[in-house]
Amino acid sequence: MQLLAERSAARSTVPTMPTPSFTVPSAEHTALAAVSRSTSQHAFVWLALANAVGLLMALLLAWPSLNDLLAPLSYGRWVSVHLNGHLYGWCTVPLIGVALRVFLDPRHPHAARHGNIGLAAWSLALAAGSVSWLAGHSSGKLFMEWSGWMRPALPAAMLVLWTVLAAHTWWRRPSRVSDVLTGRALLAASVLAALLVVPVVFFWAAGATVYPAVNPDSGGATGAALLGSTLGILTLYGALPVVLGRPRHAGTGWTRAYGPRLYVAALVASWLLYSGLNHGAVSHHRLAPQAALGTLLAWVPLTWLHFRAYVWPAATRRWLLSAFACWALLVIDGWLTFLPGFSETLKFTHGLVAHAHLAMAGFITAVNHVILQCLTPSTDPEDPPIGPSTAVASSMATPGFVLWHVGLVLHFVALIGLFTVERSDVSALFLGSAAAEGWLWLRAAGGGVLLAASVIWVRNAFRP
C-alpha cells in the first residue's frame, strides 16, 4: 500500500513526460546514477568478454594446435560468442541504458532496481545464448544464431525490458487524459508500441526458413539492405543528442542553427529513396544500388553538422572525434567495397573483416563511450560528470582511450596485411607462410591491447 501511495504521489507530481534533466534532486540523481553505473558495468563486461574471446580466436588462428587442447570448444564455436557478445552485448547495452534513461521514472522508489532487472534479463539471455553456442546449438544464421530452446530467450528478455519501460511510462503518465494525447506522452506510447513488435519480429527472423535477399554476384547483402541498415544506425544515433538531453549551442552560426534540421530532412529523403529501391536479389553491378549507397557519402558532413550543433561534455569530445573519423572512413570504404571490382576483391577476405573491425571496434565503441558518458547525470553539461561514474569518465579519456586506439590500429594493420597476403596467394593463408604467421601474431597482439583497454574500463566501472 505504501508503494502504491508513493507511486500515486509520484504520478501526481509528474504531469508530463519529463526530458532527462541535468539539474536533478538528490534521489533522482541517485537512481539515474545507479542505472547509469549498471549500464556501464554490463556494457564493459560484455566488451571485455567478447574481446577476451576475440583474443582467444586470434591465438587459435596463429597457433592452431591450441584447438586440440580446447576440443570440442574449437575455433568455430567461439566465433558466435565473439560476434554476438559484441553485437548484443557491447553494441546494444548502452542503447538499453538510453531507453532506461528516457523511460524510467527516477522518482519511483525502485527505479534503479527495475532498471537492473531489465539489464540483468538481457545479459542473462545473452549469457545463456553464449553457453548454447559453445554447446553447439546454433541456427547457422550469422547474428541470428538463437536456435531451438534458446530462440525465445532474447525476445523474452526484450519483453522483460519492455515491461519495465511500459510500467514506468504508465506510472509517470499525465494526470489529465487530455495531456496523454499530446506531446511527449503520445510519442513515448508510440515508441513503446513500436518496441513491442521487436521481440516478435526478432523471433520470426531467427527462424531457419527466413533469409534476407542475397546479392547474386557477391553472396552478401544487397545494396538496399546495406542502405537500410546504415539509415537505421543514422536514425538511432541521430536521435541521441535529443534523447540524451544534450543542449543546443547558443551560437547563432548557420551550421549550428540548421545542422539538425538538415540532418532530419536528409534522413527523410534517404528513407524515401530507400523505400523506392528494389528490395529483391539485386546485384551490386546494377547502377541503382551503387548510386543509392553513394548517397551515404553526404552523411559525412551531415553528421558533423548535426553533432556539432549540441553541447557535449568535455570528456566525450575526443571520443566524438574518434567516432567521426571512423565514420568518415567507414562510409567511404563501405561504398568502395560495394562497387564492382572492389567487391570481388574484398569479399570473403580479411579486407572485409577490417571494415567490420573499423565499424565495431572503431565507430561503435567511440559512440558507446559518448553514450555512457552522457548517461552519467551531471549538474552542468560543460563540466566533467559528477557522481560514482566520475572515475569511469576520466579513465575513458586517458589510458583506456590511448590503449584502445593503439589496439585498433594494430588490429586494422594486421587485417590489411593478411588481406594483401591472401590476395597475392591464397594458399599462403590456407597452408601457412611466414608473412601470414607474422600478421596473425600481430593481430593477436592488437587483440591483447584491446582486451587490456576493456579490462581497465571494467575495473573502473566497478570501482566504488
Binding site: L60, L61, P64, S65, N67, D68, A71, P72, S74, Y75, G76, R77, W78, V79, S80, G136, H137, S138, S139, G140, K141, L142, G148, G207, A208, T209, V210, Y211, V214, P216, D217, S218, G219, G220, A281, H285, E344, K347, F348, T349, L352, V353, D425, V426, S427, L429, F430, L431, G432, S433
Partner: protein, 631 residues
C-alpha cells in the same frame, strides 16, 4: 484404483456410446490431426510446416485449458457434442483451405476443438461408465480406433478422403454423445489423484509421448522404416489386430490397478522397438508388433487414467503438457536431429522411472527395469538412424554446430572466374540458396565448400577432419577427431554431408578440369633452379604425406588410405594416358595436381598459384625420368 463395489452398473447404451465417442475422438486424432492435416497443408507450407504444427499445438493447449475451466457435469453431454461438432467444422475448413492463412486458421481450430473435446470427454467418462470396467471400455474404444485407422483402405486413402472419414467419425461421435448419461460418481478418490502424485503421471506420460512422437516422425519420414512398419495389407492388418488386443489387455490390466505396470511395459516396448527398427539390416518381421503394442498400451492409459480421476484440471494438464507438449517436443527433436540420440532415451528413461518410482516404492523396480532396457539398447546401438538423407541432414547440423561456416563459405560468385575454377562449377542462385538456412558464410579462411563433394573423397575428408595438419601441412583448421570417437555419429554424418555437396556436378567439374590451362610460360627456362626448388618444396609439403619423401608411395598417411598411393618413381602412373608428349604430360600432371583424381584420396590443390602447380608437375615428371619404371 478400483472403486467401491456397491457402485451402480452403467447402462449398456451409455457404454456403447462412450466407446464410440472414445473411438471417434481417436480416429479424428490419428487419421486427421496427426496425418491428413499435415499432408493437406504440405502443398501450401513452403517450409512453414512448423508454424502449422505450432498453431495446432497452441490451439490444443488453449482448448484443453478452456475445457478445464468451463467443465460442468450437468452440461457434459452437450459439451461433448459441441466438441465433436467443432472438430467436424475444423476438418471441413482444412479440406476447403486453399491459402496458407486459411490452413493456419484450420490448424488452430483443429487444435482448439480437439483439445476441448479430449478434456471434456475423459473428465466425465467415469460418471458414465463407472469405475469397475472403465479401463476395459477405454481399451476397446482406443484399440478399435487404432485398428480402424490401420485398415489398408483407410490407411492408404488420400489425405482428403481421410479427412472425410475423420469428419464422419466425429459426426457419429456427436450422435453418440447424446447417449452419455451420468450414472456413477464422477470422480475417484485415490492417492493417485492427490497432489503431487498427478505430476508424476504427467511426467511419465510426457516421456512416453515425447519418445513415441519422435520415433513416429522418424519412421514416417524415413522410407525404409515407413515401408517396414506400415506397408502391405498383411502388415497393416497385423498392426490393427495388435493394436486392438494390446489396448484391450491394457484396459483389463488398468481395471486391476496395474496402471504403472502398463506404462512401464509400454515404455520398454516402444524403446526396444525404436532401437530395433533403427538397425535396418537387422530388422526382423514382428518388430512392428512391439511398437504398435507399446503405443496402444499407453494410449489406453492416456484415456483411462484421467477418466478415473474425473478431474478436468488434471485432464487438461495431462493433455496440454504430456499430449500436446510431448508431441511438439518429440516432433521438434526428430526434425532437428533426425535421429533419437542415446542421451535422450536415457534421459526419458530416467524421468520415467523416477516419476513412477517416486509415486510408489515398489514401482521403483519397474523404473529400474525400463532403465536397464534403455541402457542395454544404448550400449548396443543407441540411435535410431534414419536413411541417407537424414544422416546428411544430421551432418549439416554438425557443420552448423561446429561453426564450420565461420571459415568456409558455400557461395560461388558467377562473375568471379576464380570461384568457378577453384571451387566450381557455379550452381544457380536458387540452388545456392536452397538450404534452410543457406550456409553462405562470409569468410574463406579455408576453401569454399559448396561443391566439395565433387573434388574431395569421403576418405580424404574424414582423414582431414581428424588430422588436418597431417593432410594439409600448415592448415589452420582445428582437428575434429573427437567427432569420430566410438559411438559418436557426428563425424561420419559430417563426412556424408560434405560428400553430398556438389555430388551432382562431378561431370561438369571433370570437364572444367580437362579444359584448364595454366597461366605460365609453356617451357621452363634452362636450369631454372628457383622453379625446381619451388616444385621440390611443394612436393615435400603437400605430396610427401601420402606419396612419401622419396615419392615411393610410402608416406606416413599411406597406410591409412584404402588404396595405397602410387610409387611415382618406379611404377607406371595409373591416371596418365600413354603416348603423351613431354609438354602434354606436364599439362596432364598439372591438371591432376590442381584438380585431383575424383573418387580417390588424391585431392587437388585448387588454390595453388599456377606457377606452383606447374613447378610441381615438372618436378613430379622429373621423378620418373630419374627412376626406371618396371613396366
Amino acid at each position: 484404483m478400483t472403486d467401491a463395489p456397491q457402485e451402480e452398473s452403467p447402462r449398456r447404451s451409455a457404454v456403447a456410446c462412450a466407446v464410440v465417442a472414445i473411438a471417434a475422438t481417436y480416429v479424428y486424432f490419428l487419421l486427421f490431426a496427426e496425418f491428413a492435416l499435415v499432408e493437406l497443408a504440405l502443398p501450401l507450407a513452403e517450409g512453414r510446416l512448423r508454424w502449422l504444427l505450432g498453431a495446432l499445438g497452441v490451439g490444443g493447449v488453449t482448448g484443453s485449458l478452456l475445457a478445464a475451466r468451463s467443465f460442468r457435469f450437468e452440461r457434459y453431454t452437450r459439451s461433448v457434442a459441441h466438441g465433436f461438432r467443432a472438430c467436424g467444422v475444423a476438418a471441413v475448413l482444412a479440406l476447403l483451405a486453399k491459402t496458407w492463412l486459411l490452413m493456419m486458421i484450420a490448424a488452430l481450430s483443429v487444435g482448439l476443438s480437439l483439445g476441448w473435446l479430449t478434456v471434456i470427454l475423459v473428465s466425465g467418462l467415469r460418471g458414465v461408465l463407472g469405475g469397475r470396467r472403465l479401463g476395459l471400455w477405454a481399451g476397446i474404444g482406443t484399440g478399435s480406433a487404432y485398428a480402424f485407422c490401420n485398415l489398408p483402405s483407410v490407411f492408404n486413402a488420400s489425405p482428403a478422403d481421410q479427412t472425410v472419414v475423420a469428419a464422419v467419425a466425429v459426426v457419429i461421435g456427436a450422435l453418440a454423445a447424446n447417449g452419455l448419461s451420468l450414472t456413477a460418481a464422477p470422480r475417484a478418490e485415490h492417492a493417485d489423484f492427490q497432489p503431487p502424485i498427478p505430476a508424476c503421471w504427467v511426467v511419465a506420460f510426457l516421456a512416453l509421448v515425447w519418445l513415441d512422437s519422435a520415433a513416429f516422425y522418424i519412421i514416417q519420414h524415413t522410407e525404409p522404416l515407413r515401408n517396414a512398419t506400415w506397408q502391405g495389407a498383411w502388415v497393416l492388418g497385423g498392426n490393427a489386430l495388435t493394436h486392438l488386443v494390446a489396448a484391450v489387455i491394457a484396459g483389463i490390466a488398468i481395471d486391476r490397478g496395474f496402471n504403472a505396470r502398463v506404462l512401464g511395459l509400454a515404455f520398454a516396448l516402444l524403446t526396444g522397438a525404436a532401437l530395433w527398427l533403427g538397425d535396418g539390416a537387422a530388422r526382423t518381421t514382428g518388430v512392428e508388433v512391439l511398437y504398435t503394442a507399446g503405443v496402444s498400451l499407453y494410449s489406453t492409459a492416456l484415456v483411462a487414467y484421467p477418466a478415473q480421476g474425473g478431474r478436468p484440471r488434471l485432464s487438461a494438464a495431462l493433455f496440454a503438457v504430456a499430449g500436446w507438449g510431448g508431441s511438439a517436443l518429440g516432433i521438434g527433436l526428430a526434425q532437428d536431429l533426425h535421429h533419437i540420440p542415446a542421451w535422450f532415451c536415457g534421459a526419458a528413461g530416467l524421468a520415467f522411472a523416477f516419476a513412477l518410482g517416486w509415486r510408489h516404492r515398489h514401482l521403483r523396480r519397474v523404473g529400474a527395469a525400463a532403465l536397464a532396457v534403455l541402457l542395454g539398447g544404448a550400449l548396443t546401438d543407441s540411435d535410431v538412424q534414419a536413411n541417407e538423407e537424414a544422416v546428411i541432414a544430421f551432418g549439416r547440423q554438425t557443420y552448423i554446430a561446429e561453426g564450420c561456416l565461420h571459415c568456409h563459405s558455400q557461395y560461388l560468385r558467377p562473375s568471379v572466374a576464380e570461384d568457378a575454377t577453384r571451387w566450381g562449377p557455379v550452381p544457380s542462385l536458387a540452388a545456392q540458396l536452397q538450404g534452410r538456412p543457406p550456409l553462405l558464410g562470409n569468410r574463406r579462411l579455408g576453401p569454399d565448400l559448396s561443391q566439395v563433394g565433387n573434388r574431395r573423397s569421403a576418405e580424404w575428408n574424414r582423414l582431414h577432419l581428424i588430422e588436418p595438419r597431417s593432410v594439409s601441412p600448415g592448415s589452420r583448421m582445428p582437428s575434429y577427431a573427437h567427432l569420430f570417437a566410438d559411438g559418436d555419429p557426428r563425424g561420419d554424418a559430417l563426412v556424408a554431408y560434405l560428400a553430398s555437396l556438389g555430388r551432382d556436378s562431378l561431370a561438369a567439374r571433370v570437364a572444367s578440369a580437362a579444359a584448364w590451362m595454366p597461366h605460365t610460360p609453356a617451357q621452363p627456362r634452362a636450369g631454372d633452379q628457383t622453379e625446381l626448388t619451388r616444385g621440390r618444396s611443394r612436393f615435400a609439403q603437400l605430396c610427401a604425406p601420402c606419396h612419401g619423401d622419396a615419392a615411393r608411395g610410402d608416406g606416413k598417411l599411406a597406410a591409412r588410405l584404402a588404396q595405397s598411393p602410387p610409387d611415382l618413381v618406379q611404377r607406371p602412373w595409373r591416371h596418365l594416358p600413354e603416348g603423351l608428349t613431354p609438354q602434354e604430360r606436364e599439362l596432364h600432371l598439372a591438371r591432376l595436381i590442381k584438380f585431383g583424381v575424383p573418387g580417390t584420396a588424391m585431392a587437388g590443390r585448387e588454390y595453388l598459384p599456377d606457377e606452383d602447380v606447374v613447378s610441381l608437375a615438372r618436378f613430379v615428371a622429373g621423378l620418373q625420368a630419374a627412376g626406371t619404371p618396371r613396366s
